[in-house]
Amino acid sequence: MHGFGFDALHDEICVTSPLAQAILSFRGGADGEEAPLRVIQGPHTQIKGTAGGGNDKVSVDPVNNEIYIPIDTAKVLVFDRTANGDVAPKRMLGGPDTEIRGVSAVAVDPIHNILAVNSGGAMLIFDRTASGNVKPKAVIKGPKSGMANISSFQIYAPKGLIIAGCDGAVAASSSICAWSVEDDGDVAPRSKIPVRQLTGYTPSGIALDPAHKEVILSAAGQRVRPTRGIMNTVITFSWPEIFN
């Protein structure tokens, strides 16, 4: 699993079952072998991965009651959050003008009404309800931006900040950075935590804890072996600068 969602408004966990082409919603407090509340699966869903990956990331917009799943080939499907069974997506974003490549992580900012897609070492920013083959309204990309790819990223909507991976190859980020949702082009990040430099780990997942002004990162060995020799960890940084 490369990315999943927690919906604090409705107290639900949203995950994918990649090889069964399904999106599962569980109670927020689910424990043990508990059945999902809802399953989106079937021919109408159009959910599709690849032989080697895909269907491994999902995001939830609890405010607008929508679920976002990136699929093969280079598309993002949007479902009603309460959809259950073999249902068609509400809309689909994808096509050459979108610049979306591969199966890319997605996050939504319901305050600024944007949808961000981290694809090909770029952060593609669309109107939240963008559909079809449309151009992004902004693209954060370039050497000054340091933008890279990461398994999952977040938007801290109250401050309009995108918290994503930077300073890395296209497939991995050695740092995490904060950009404004209004940034466009080759724009330097507003703030950065050089995670690998500080810890030896390559971050792959990002979660935010605004109440404690912390960012929580998952990190597993990613070819670059952590110096301490333990390959799996969860690391928490205090980062009040992005929450204040």
Partner: protein, 434 residues
């Protein structure tokens, strides 16, 4: 408003949200879907001391602060568009990790009386004496040698297998590198493999038929069994491939071969789709499918073991008793070893189940039948150990011996690959899939 007041108010709001959510969704349990896909591995991180939850010391905070020119601006946002990015150089405030091994697979070298354990947490293979035994009160068992380091290419590995003739150690990688690496029996430290074989992504388990010198490899998805020459290397292609809808393979994991009766056993988790067809996904109960050992192409199974009576729940490695043909299955989420007879089929209860508190079994993913010594080996993902039983053991039986690589009573984090996470602000919990 002070930071603390803001924090408390935020928590109050979250509690309110939780209360509303419970009110709105409290009936949802009555409407739960009853399919086979279930969330099973999101758990509260234990605070038993088994996991390393390490608040950074005041001393290191002070040191970091003195080295961080920006620390005095800690409560001040600095968002100057044209300014140099604000680099945060303070260390993390906490980390969660497990310093003990997380054993996923076991192989035996009966010629040298040695046991090889695959550690998914340090990307290593640890070699112990077959007769090692950590008695109560004794310190953790020390390995004789360890294969570990970047040159080894051991990473995300799911299966270790020992060639009974040469003692060569094979290790199957399940993720990024997509290789089988082969080491000499005496390999130790950071050493390059003597041979590498490029294999399909999501390879899981292997076995070798010495009579034909063939290497059998299960692949999770697209589900298949690839058969190579035992000495294949580099980009050598499979001799044959068992794959296709008729095979009933689905999210295939454990593999075992019965060379006497010429049978191939594969277990399947039942997550099914054709990646070429959108929306073709479905769930089925886990199964064991049985084929002729020389099956090729889209060959249907000779028989299928499947259904609720079987108790299968994330079946992992499998091993066969060559004398009886009995099939031993590491039943990860079932917290058990389940045993089926060679000709079993349909929905039936296992012939034997090893399970219970006395067994020390905890999330078993590796199993090996030692026919020579009439013993059964199990690796426990959940407690950093390998346990040994009499081959005829059944029920809640104490192990004969334990290789224990952590303190007694260890509860492992069971981290396999911590790629993703979410934060639950309602319960103030971090959710980490493994």
């Amino acid at each position: 408003m002070s930071t603390n007041k803001r924090r408390n108010r935020g928590r109050g709001i979250l509690v309110g949200v939780a209360a509303v959510a419970v009110g709105l969704f409290g009936l949802s349990g009555l409407l739960r879907w009853r399919g086979s896909a279930q969330l099973v591995s999101i758990e509260e991180i234990p605070d038993t001391g088994d996991a390393c939850y390490r608040p950074v010391s005041a001393e290191s905070k002070l040191k970091a602060a003195s080295e961080n020119l920006f620390s005095t601006f800690e409560e001040i946002p600095v968002y100057a568009q044209d300014a140099r990015p604000l680099d945060i150089t303070r260390p993390p405030v906490r980390d969660i990790l497990d310093t003990a091994p997380i054993y996923s697979s076991v192989g035996l070298d009966l010629e040298h009386n040695e046991v090889m354990l695959q550690d998914a947490n340090t990307w290593s293979i640890k070699v112990f004496s077959r007769l090692d035994n950590a008695k109560p009160g004794a310190p953790p068992t020390e390995p004789r040698r360890v294969i570990v380091g970047p040159k080894t290419d051991v990473q995300f590995n799911s299966c270790v297998w020992v060639d009974p003739a040469s003692g060569d150690i094979y290790s199957v990688e399940n993720d990024i590198g997509d290789v089988i690496v082969v080491f000499d029996h005496d390999a130790t430290g950071d050493i390059e493999p003597k041979r590498k074989l490029k294999v399909t992504h999501r390879a899981f388990a292997m076995a070798i038929d010495e009579s034909t010198k063939e290497l059998f490899l299960s692949v999770q998805y697209p589900p298949q069994v690839a058969v190579y020459s035992k000495t294949a290397s580099g980009n050598d292609k499979p001799i044959r491939l068992l794959i296709g809808d008729k095979t009933k393979l689905s999210d295939s994991h454990g593999l075992a071969i019965d060379t006497k009766n010429k049978l191939l056993f594969i277990n399947n988790w039942g997550n099914i789709s054709d990646y070429r067809v959108p929306g073709s996904g479905r769930f089925e109960p886990p199964s064991i499918t049985v084929y002729p050992l020389d099956a090729d192409g889209d060959t249907p199974p000779l028989r299928v073991i499947q259904g609720p009576k079987t108790q299968m729940d994330w079946p992992g490695a499998m091993s066969i008793d060559p004398a009886t043909g009995d099939l031993y299955v590491a039943n990860d989420m079932g917290q058990s070893i389940i045993v089926f007879h060679s000709k079993d089929q349909g929905d039936l209860t296992p012939a034997k189940v090893i399970k219970g508190l006395k067994t020390h079994i905890s999330y078993p993913t590796g199993v090996f039948v030692d026919a020579k010594n009439q013993e059964l080996w199990v690796t426990n993902l959940g407690n950093s150990s390998a346990t040994v039983y009499p081959l005829n053991a059944s029920g809640d039986v104490a192990p004969l011996r334990i290789i224990r690589s952590a303190e007694e009573g260890k509860v492992s984090l069971r981290f396999g690959k911590t790629q993703a996470l979410v934060y639950d602000p309602i319960r103030e919990q971090i959710l980490v899939p493994n």
